[in-house]
Subunit: 325 residues, 4 copies
């Protein structure tokens, strides 16, 4: 049993990590750090855990845990690691966007590896520090990487994606208030979402001559969980070719699958899966990609990375029952 | 055209009043007072009004308006009226619970009349100051008043009602956050909701020997608008008798109707209606009552009261298209 | 008071027509034809109308009404008109897609005019037969027509739009079942939606040299009403230029408005409005357009057309209170 | 590994069983019988299972499986067992209401044991045939049994409960259509719900002098999963006494827990838990009880019963990650 520490324990992603770790056969939660909740039961915040755990939030940090998850707001992970020292054997998985880009990946002697198993599983296995990918970034990369691998992205990529209200974090705000969000729909950050950078970086890692635009429209949907992304581009090859490329690319993927049928968001909600569907019309290739933003898009992928880093079975703790309805 | 002033213009009930008044043939909105929004367009807060009005929020109060609506938090109306002076001809309709009870109804020389048209339409027509009923209180009274009128309530009354998220006001809070409320259900204030007092007062006004308990369980539903209330009590008479009593009582009601069929909440959402359905099983009489909490339960009823006070047709500005879906 | 007949009275669009016509000062509903519901109260199907009308569904058709609305499934309007004869003075507004295209617009001596007031108000005023536009088609055209008018659409147009469950009609189906649709998201008919033809036709009517592609991804959202469409294209001019063009184009529009702020779907739900927002990033112009699919996208626009055809004020019966929450 | 057969494989409860069994360490699904879907992949109907299983629906029944789950409509289980013969060693768990009552529990030589572990765990361990409790019945019994055990139910019991749309089964119907159910609320079967019989039977099993009325109002909520039940009765003892009684009663329960804090539905959605909260006001005791209707209220409890019957750990395959948001 490895010892696990969690920093920023009151947010959505920390809650999901705790839910997953409690059912993981190889881990013990050593501490859940939260200054505002220290001394309270974890189940006071993550209330579905009543009956599941008596764990308390802690104001103390154990620097000798085997693995540390950082569930802090973007920008705060770097500051936290500069202010705190951990054992040289402590592995760290950061869920923020602080270390995802090549230009950001080093902090003193720490070098962060981008933690998308479908891109670089071997590097993750050897990594000590992981920058866990963004949620939109995960869904969109998993749609694009097979094509990039065979250097077949030759034109602009048009992405339209919709995310649930958990994507906005736990802070109270107008656009996450029920009366605003219920039965509503809206967009945000058109063409400028911060995940574009990590997507471009990964696509270029596989297809170095990639120089098309990724035109990305993110939307807010009236549901709590999940990302539904449609991605299209001009493509001259046949649908069968693309399917073969994708099947090959995801042949040994633990959680990413190609669906022959049309897909809809709830197929992956409350699971660590990504489902991909391919469709072609005239010269346009349409790739649909769905993930749960809090699982494959955040905490589930973080556990998947932990499994790889510690040599546990990749799916341990992640064979989840979908909610589906 | 009468001149209308609104105090507390940024909340849900003020928004509904503005929506209704803009389509009312006899009114002109003179000012919408909001300290926090003064100088902004009303459509910046009530955003469906883009294209409908160029009205601005004001930090100035015109003391000579013909009618003033107070859309303040409970407890604040009294303080506001103590601090501000209006023309002796200004009629006032208060939407808070500050003046609803006999013990509270006087403020200096002002005497507030409880503004439930189905209880006392003639008193409202002559009133200068109106205490507009509560939302739960409206739904529940409209279920009970016909029986009270014929002195037939003889046993405890069991009320279970569910309200939408607009019932909690516009302040951000955990239980009105989308991720908490969506697909959720909960209760609050069991047996002690503050509307019980005005309900008891009205029932006793019609049936002076009424001394049973009203046992009231309020619930929070995962929708934005509406109150669905089921009310049962032991009752020895026949269903036909009760139907006749209710039909008679609501014979000239402008917005309250008896439905022969089962009813469901969306039949009244975005209307000023109350629908009542009667059912009997063994010795139990079940009365179901539905209203839109922001309309018949608040701003619609306030306009209905204004219509009565000024001699306008009772339904003016209130023949609303239901949303229904 | 003109006499109105409705064919296909049990569907969503007929229900909306009835709701609107009951509050219209110049119309009387002469009959609502529905074979399956003949003899039942209209309020048995459109249940929010309990208390509003005692109208019955009829199995008889009065061929002398002043105006007839056809609310039949696509393909059935033509068959219906071939089988039934109406007075030569009866005006007809068809809500299906049977007569929208130039190639389809004639049926014997009847010539249908495409009923988009923002495109050709004068032609509608003189028309006797109207082909009412599709819902997606309305939202998308209203985004594109101002630019087409000044011949400024020069590149491919990318449209992503999401519609509510009422868009699928009243027939029971898996994708409109609550347990499937709630909290879900999916696409349908990628790149091939039937409304593309009428959109292309109108754009070319204003900009005859238009020969770019309209690439349209329609989606199913987990709400009942409304269409949210984002539309982008390469554009070299300034945002100010486009705003000026749109403001000019919609200067005298009764229901279409430009919003300076970002827009969200519920601003127009249960109204006849279309709101447009303009945004520019680098060389991409983003136009967002929102309508209620059943009102401006169907029955509201049909009433607007009727108003124009009979010389009534264009907004009569259509100044609707938004649901908003 | 025991071999499992499922009859009626296309419904909600069969889908949940399959999801649970795929992650259960001691079971192998031998066949999923569905005449209408025979030959299709199970993931074509239960679409979240894409990537999880290649299992096919079968038109053949293996009469030698170790355990058989009947997921048939009420009334059909008896007919099915009369028409089919199974090995004498095959254990059967029926999810319908065909065998729940004493008068119904025998079919030829088969005697069905009522499968509520919190009522009679030892009897279940020895049982060969199980009648799995109803969903409402589970939530309500778990609220009442501790009091019945100490003979403290002395007055009428008032139950108000709301269930999700999955409670109505997979058949298409108006009240489970999205446009009807979304943002709606309604009741059904007031005072006469069929689960009352099994509730009364269990309460009397523990408190033989129980002769009060259980007055039950079931409601339809606008969510997919879960039952929220509030139950109150006159009660003279202290809240502390009741808490102690309940804690004692559920001391070794695997999935039923007492919450000191108010509870809300989503705490148990997608888990096999029941949470109970106790509250007292004047002489009224309020017990709130929440379960997921498809898990603790159906398929989860069926697996729990299977675990007990086969000597597996009671929680095997049932430590589920809540959806929560």
């Amino acid at each position: 049993m490895i010892q696990v520490g969690i920093i920023g324990g009151a947010g959505y992603t920390a809650g999901e990590l705790i839910r997953l770790l409690l059912n993981h056969s190889e881990t013990e939660i050593n501490f859940v750090f939260s200054t505002s909740n220290a001394g309270n039961k974890v189940s006071k915040v993550h209330q579905d855990l009543v009956g599941s755990t008596d764990l308390m939030f802690s104001s103390e940090i154990n620097p000798d845990v085997d693995v540390l998850f950082l569930c802090l707001g973007h920008g705060n992970s770097k500051a936290f690691l500069e202010a705190h020292t951990f054992s040289s054997s402590t592995k760290i998985i950061d869920l923020s966007n602080d270390f995802r880009l090549e230009v950001d990946k080093k902090l003193e002697d720490k070098v962060f590896v981008y933690g998308l198993p479908e891109l670089q599983k071997e590097a993750i296995k050897k990594a000590k520090y992981i920058a866990n990918p963004g949620c939109f970034a995960t869904a969109i990369q998993l749609a694009l990487l097979p094509l990039a691998q065979v250097k077949l992205i030759k034109d602009d990529i048009h992405v339209n994606a919709v995310t649930g209200a958990t994507g906005a974090g736990t802070s109270l705000s107008k656009t996450t208030q029920f009366t605003w969000r219920d039965n509503n729909f809206s967009y945000y950050k058109p063409f400028t979402h911060q995940h574009l950078e990590e997507i471009n970086q990964s696509v270029k890692q596989l297809q170095s001559d990639f120089n098309s635009d990724i035109i990305f429209m993110p939307n807010r949907g009236n549901f709590s969980r999940g990302i539904f992304a449609t991605i299209y581009t001009k493509f001259e090859g046949s649908l069968e070719d693309v399917k073969a490329v994708c099947q090959e690319y995801y042949n040994d993927a633990a959680f990413t699958f190609i669906s022959d049928e049309d897909i809809h968001l709830k197929q992956v909600v409350n699971t660590n899966k990504c489902l991909i569907h391919l469709h072609k019309h005239d010269n346009k290739l349409l790739i649909t990609s769905i993930v749960d933003n809090l699982l494959k898009g955040a905490s589930g992928q973080a556990i998947q990375n932990m499994n790889l880093m510690f040599g546990f079975p990749e799916t341990e703790g992640l064979q989840l029952k979908a909610n589906f309805f």
